[in-house]
Structures are given as structure tokens and as C-alpha cells.
């Protein structure tokens, strides 16, 4: 079987403004392509059929990881390999390195981007859970300027985001707050595969109690699952194994996996709980500088 996308027109953008102008002109027929490792497979399967592709790979201005204004700011075109290797990111949010070690394989990681991963809005994708857990904000630019929204408002359904026609995701912002620790735990069938289930956690510890926490799950619902009920339980409490076990039980209960080739529902719920607990344990150990 020949797998080739349906015909489309191709444009190579030379500036963000130019890409936005083309997007606006073409409306919903146009799509941005970055790494292309989600979009092209979807196009081959006719699950995505854009008539106009705008290639942003030349826009170096969207490729960076830097500390600025009390945040880590990541350009949308930053590739997985750069996220994996960033010492700045590993120092403040090791959850990214945890996740990047198990996202696809090194060759795919040379191409795929953070912006593409988030905009694909696949519930099984790891970085969406990571960004949700660390309470990232995303910058969306359109013809009328920029808006900054929280991750919770970004994914509005399976494969659907808050990025509208004529708009482009340009940046991911991670708040820098004291006492943070973070971790990502994933179980997959084989190296490089999508998760059967994965859990991302960020905690902020202040004086021995959990001042704030983010817990998000991949691959166990129609979108990334943000486990708010577990966060409410954890917030203001002292970290303990019992507490983490309770949070894991909530994660098991509050996700909504479907059975597929990766496993039945009860197994995925079990994994969600265990991985949430492990990620909480590891994130907390990192926050307290007790990691073995």
C-alpha cells in the first residue's frame, strides 16, 4: 500500500507574521507543519486533509529554551532532542528529561517539536501531561496579537486545541517557583511506543507541606486527564506514602481509559494509579533533594 498524503499546496514560511497572514488567508484549510511526525502520518491515513501546508521549520526565532521574567520559556519549534538535552530544563523541571527519554526514539526526537506535540492534542502524548502538571501557560499568536492561556484551557477535546484559525502556538511558559520537584512515569509495550499509561507530577514543597501540586495522566482518557481531585487532597498536606497511595487511587478512579491493543480498562486504571503514586514519590524526593 502506498502511503502518500492527499495533494496540498506547500509554503515555506520566512517569518511568524508571514505564517499567520497565510493562515488567516487560507482559513481552516491551512495547517502549520513543524516536525511533521504527527501530522504527516495523519495525512497519509487521511485523518487530516489540509489543502495548504505552511512549513515553519526555518523560523529559528521559535527555537529556544531560556530563563526570562521568572519563567522558563520554550519556543514552539524546539525539538524533543533539545528538550532532552537542556540542562536548564533538567535543573528546574526534570520531568521533561524523564518524559523525553521515552518519547518515540532518538531519530524521531531529532524532528518532533514541543509545539507540534501540544497542538496534535493526542491524549496518549507525553508532553501534554508534562505541561499540564507543571502548570505551563502557552502563548498563541494571531493576526490581532498574542494571548496567553493556561494548559487547562488549551486542550478542548481529542485532537482539538484552543488555537483558532489564523493562529499559531509560539511559546510554552513554565513558572519558576521555589521548592519544586517533578517526575514523569510511563509504561509502554516496547521502546519508543505510545504510553499504555503515563503520569506526570510537579510538586512545590514549602516547610514540609505540599504547597501546590500538578498531576496529569496520558493515554487513559479522551484527552490528557488533569486529576484535580487528587491535587485537592494533596495540597496543604505533608507528603507520605499513604497520601500518595490515596492520590493514586483517585487517579485510578478519575481516569476513563478504553480497552485496545495496549490493554484492558482495569489494567490501565491500575497503571494510572501506580504510576501516579510513583511519580508523586519521585517528584517529592527531588523537591526535598532526597532522590537516591
Amino acid at each position: 500500500m502506498v502511503q502518500t498524503p492527499a495533494p496540498f499546496e506547500y509554503e515555506r514560511a520566512t517569518s511568524v507574521e508571514g505564517a499567520i497572514a497565510s493562515l488567516k488567508q487560507r482559513g481552516s484549510e491551512a495547517r502549520i507543519i513543524a516536525g511533521g511526525h504527527s501530522l504527516l502520518p495523519m495525512m497519509k491515513l487521511r485523518l487530516a486533509n489540509p489543502e495548504y501546508l505552511i512549513d515553519i521549520n526555518d523560523l529559528d526565532e521559535l527555537s529556544y529554551i531560556r530563563e526570562e521574567a521568572g519563567e522558563i520559556r520554550i519556543g514552539a519549534l524546539t525539538r524533543h532532542v533539545e528538550l532532552l538535552e537542556s540542562e536548564l530544563l533538567a535543573r528546574h523541571y526534570p520531568v521533561f528529561r524523564d518524559a523525553e527519554r521515552v518519547i518515540a526514539d532518538p531519530v524521531v526526537r531529532n524532528r518532533g517539536t514541543i509545539g507540534g506535540s501540544l497542538c496534535q492534542a493526542d491524549a496518549a502524548e507525553d508532553l501534554s501531561a508534562v505541561c499540564s502538571a507543571v502548570k505551563a501557560k502557552v502563548v498563541i499568536r494571531g493576526p490581532d496579537g498574542e494571548r496567553v492561556i493556561a494548559m487547562d484551557e488549551f486542550h478542548i477535546g481529542p485532537y482539538m486545541t484552543a488555537v483558532g484559525d489564523g493562529e499559531i502556538l509560539t511559546e510554552v511558559r513554565l513558572p519558576l517557583r521555589p521548592g519544586s520537584g517533578s517526575a514523569h512515569e510511563k509504561v509502554e509495550r516496547r521502546a519508543g511506543d505510545w504510553a499504555i499509561a503515563a503520569a506526570s507530577v510537579a510538586v512545590w514543597i514549602d516547610g514540609g507541606t505540599i504547597a501546590d501540586v500538578g498531576l496529569a495522566l496520558s493515554a487513559v482518557g479522551p484527552t490528557t486527564i488533569h486529576v484535580t481531585r487528587a491535587e485537592e487532597l494533596l495540597r496543604g498536606s505533608s507528603p507520605s506514602e499513604e497520601l500518595f497511595a490515596q492520590a493514586g487511587e483517585i487517579a485510578s478512579a478519575d481516569c476513563s481509559p478504553v480497552p485496545d491493543g495496549r490493554g484492558p480498562v482495569d489494567y490501565k486504571r491500575h497503571l494510572a494509579g501506580v504510576l501516579a503514586k510513583r511519580a508523586l514519590r519521585r517528584a517529592t524526593a527531588r523537591a526535598l533533594h532526597q532522590e537516591a
Binding site: T4, I33, P41, A104, N110
Partner: protein, 159 residues
């Protein structure tokens, strides 16, 4: 659309549809069928080529996206009749049976050694984890890449 790609240092110019994948653009060029077209889903790694020195899966890149970048295929490994140490390693240690994954494996190995001349077995296994070999069980592939690392200096001197 008219494209002009740089493949193995040569300009390859052709009119293609924007939807043409890089793997097909390469394989449609006379003398460049060494790059293999495998799963077409970026899983198997048979189509790996180097783009500006980094291994990429050419089934998941549009030919149009490769314009302006340096593409290297498996045909570039041999220079003036002298095999690359990676090729000699694959030959010496019998790192292929059917050979279908071999071009992707060797290009991935070449990129690894260019970046890390002395990789551990673990680093080699991680580096080639984007390639699937159904014949060898990977053992001889890993050994061949180690062989290439150990013999890089001596085999190069003989050129």
C-alpha cells in the same frame, strides 16, 4: 513544484508534487536506491538518512522540507572505493541477514559515532532504538558499531 536538493554533496533537481516524501525523492534519483522504504509510519527506521548530520526518517519528511539542507544517504559512506568503518564493522561481524534495515542502521550508527566516538553498548542500543531489525536480534549490529568505534582511527588512516 521545482525542488533542488543537496544529496551526498550533489545538486538533485526535479519537479515533484509538494506531497512527495523525501524517501521517494531520494529513491527516484538514479543510483540512490540504497535508502530503503519500509513501514512508512516512522517506526522501522529503514529510511533513515542524515539531514545536516542528524539521522531522520525520510518517510516522514516532505522532500520540499529538505530543500536547503544537506542530505546524506548510505551511498555516501563509501569514499573512493574505501568502505566506512561502520560498513566494515557490519561486514566483519555479520550484522545483517536480509539487509533491509541495514542502510538505516548504518546511517544511524554513522551519526552516533560522529557525535560520540566511543559509545557504550547502552548508548548504541538507545541510538538504534528507532530502527527495527527482524533478523539479527541486534546483537551483531551493536557489536559492529562497537567495532567501528574501535577501528575508526586505523581504518581511516589506511585511506
Amino acid at each position: 513544484m521545482q525542488l533542488n536538493l543537496t544529496i551526498n554533496g550533489e545538486q538533485v533537481e526535479r519537479a515533484v508534487e509538494p506531497r512527495q516524501l523525501l524517501v521517494h525523492y531520494i529513491r527516484d534519483t538514479p543510483g540512490l536506491t540504497g535508502t530503503h522504504w519500509g513501514c512508512d509510519t516512522s517506526n522501522c527506521g529503514a529510511c533513515v538518512v542524515l539531514m545536516d548530520g542528524k539521522p531522520v526518517k525520510s518517510c516522514t519528511i516532505l522532500a520540499a522540507m529538505a530543500e536547503g539542507h544537506e542530505i546524506r544517504t548510505v551511498e555516501s559512506l563509501e569514499r573512493e572505493g574505501q568502505l566506512d568503518p561502520v560498513q566494515i564493522g557490519f561486514h566483519e561481524l555479520h550484522a545483517l541477514h536480509c539487509g533491509f534495515c541495514t542502510p538505516g542502521m548504518m546511517m544511524t550508527a554513522r551519526a552516533l559515532l560522529d557525535e560520540n566516538p566511543n559509545p557504550s553498548e547502552e548508548e548504541i542500543r538507545v541510538a538504534i532504538s528507532g530502527g527495527i531489525c527482524r533478523c539479527t536480534g541486534y546483537k551483531n549490529i551493536v557489536a559492529a558499531i562497537r567495532w567501528a568505534a574501535e577501528h575508526e582511527a586505523t581504518t581511516r588512516q589506511e585511506v
